[in-house]
């Protein structure tokens, strides 16, 4: 297993620091060698910056990858957007000599050079491939009695030609990692549908993006889930902050707790909810916390 550096992105450190904390705690507990990546920037966000200007997207993504190359580490992402952006940029820069050359002209101005020596990983894909559900299950000290509505998020598995993670219509690898914690990954209609946030739709057309979120939340509520679990802080934000925005704009109340996989795994590894920042979400469902207290502590 190669050494890793943790790429934080924007939303984790600057909106949901509990995910950063939970990830650090889980990596330590699983004895995964992962260093910080000082001075990293926005990945930059694939749906917007990539579609505005490709050379800019490659230069910024290239710099983030170079920071990890300098440490001799693969990049570990905890966000589908960062994963999509960095893995696609890394792939293009490795494969396309002309793009690598033009990107290195920009990087040369800050004394850096992209070499193409490291890979980009996503924590869910990494845990599945390097540990596997069985090994995770062995590490669990507090099995969770929760019904989880899993949201894969689009860019973890798509575009599939670049990802190679199996079926995009009915994948199972993430479900297996959920069930390794003792929780049940419940089935629900439109499970693989988008949260509505990506592609700059949330930033420019909030109400439209919330219509898509509302649809998914209704499906999840009807399926009787205790919580939503994701592996993408942008989806996390859309579901968590989105519920408050939906309350305000559409007068609808869902009150469904939202957890990143690091936070769910952290609970199963024995960390209390407050250490994982689960109480720092916008949606803080009292019943859910009581359930966690009753069954975890």
């Amino acid at each position: 297993m190669s050494k890793l550096s943790l790429f934080l992105g924007c939303i984790v450190p600057n909106r949901y620091p509990g995910i950063e904390k939970a990830t650090q705690l889980c990596l330590d507990k699983l004895d995964i060698d992962c260093s910080d990546l000082p001075g990293a920037s926005c990945c930059p966000a694939p749906g917007v910056f990539r579609s505005f200007d490709k050379p800019t997207w490659l230069a910024l993504a290239g710099r983030n990858i170079v920071l990890s190359e300098e440490l001799g580490c693969d990049v570990l992402t905890i966000c589908n957007g960062c994963y999509g952006s960095l893995t696609d940029a890394n792939h293009e820069l490795k494969e396309n000599v002309a793009l690598k050359k033009s990107t290195n002209v920009h990087l040369g101005k800050i004394g850096k050079k992209y070499e193409g020596t490291v890979d980009v990983r996503h924590i869910v894909e990494f845990l599945y491939d390097e540990f596997g559900p069985e090994k995770i299950k062995e590490m669990v000290v507090k099995p969770l009695d929760l019904k989880v509505a899993l949201h894969y998020g689009c860019h973890l598995v798509k575009p599939s030609k670049e990802r190679q993670l199996g079926s995009v219509e009915q994948p199972t690898f993430f479900d297996e990692l959920i069930e390794a914690t003792g929780a049940k990954s419940i089935d629900y209609p439109d499970k693989m549908a988008c949260c509505g946030a990506g592609g700059g739709v949330r930033s420019a057309l909030l109400e439209r993006s919330l219509e898509m979120t509302k649809h998914k939340l209704s499906r999840i509520r009807d399926a009787g889930a205790d919580c939503i679990v994701n592996a993408c802080p942008f989806c996390h934000l859309q579901f968590d902050s989105g519920q408050a925005e939906i309350r305000e704009k559409f007068a609808l109340e869902y009150n469904i707790p939202v957890l990143h996989y690091s936070q769910l795994l952290g609970l199963a590894l024995g960390f209390p909810p407050v250490e994982l920042g689960i109480d720092l979400n916008i949606i803080t469902n009292k019943e859910f916390f009581e359930k966690l207290r009753g069954r975890i502590e």
């Binding site: 450190p13 950063e20 930059p44 910024l60 693989m192 720092l280």
Partner: protein, 159 residues
């Protein structure tokens, strides 16, 4: 840019939409299309026939979920095509105000979503450094990011 130039630019980027048979798998799979005016089939058709696609506001309603691209029986890279048309539009000066604003945030802070006081407090509650170890903590790293953005003339593009 003329209408046929759009098609040429896409083709040069390896994005061939002319094999589209208008089956509608893309638009019927589109989660955004359920709630917005986005009709991916119509965008592909418009591109094929040289309609003024750059000013089509539906371009900005795609969440880039890639379902259309995965399901297309002709294997047309539909989502990538929409993103490539956006690139042409942005370089023609067509951009939504919110996207200009988020670009300015990256220029200023190196983050599309920068830190705020509320989150600094949350970080302290979690016994973490209130300032994350990103460009936020290292001014020289932010200066490097800004140098790159200027080198790519991104500052002029989104001004």
């Amino acid at each position: 840019m003329s209408k046929s130039d759009v098609l040429n630019t896409l083709q040069n980027a390896g994005l061939d939409v002319l094999t589209c048979m208008q089956c509608g798998t893309c638009s019927s799979s589109c989660p955004s299309g359920r709630y917005t005016s986005l009709n991916t089939r119509r965008i592909v058709r418009g591109t094929c026939v040289g309609r003024d696609i750059l000013h089509d506001e539906d371009l900005w309603m795609c969440t880039t979920c890639y379902t259309c691209q995965e399901r297309c029986p002709r294997e047309i890279k539909i989502a990538d095509t929409i993103l490539a048309i956006r690139t042409i539009a942005v370089h023609e000066g067509i951009m939504l105000p919110a996207h200009r604003k988020v670009s300015q945030l990256v220029l200023k802070y190196g983050h599309a979503v920068p830190i705020n006081d509320d989150v600094k407090e949350k970080r302290e509650k979690l016994k973490m450094d209130p300032i994350p170890g990103t460009v936020h903590k290292y001014p020289e790293a932010l200066a490097d990011v800004q140098t790159l953005l200027r080198s790519c003339e991104f500052d002029k593009l989104v001004a």
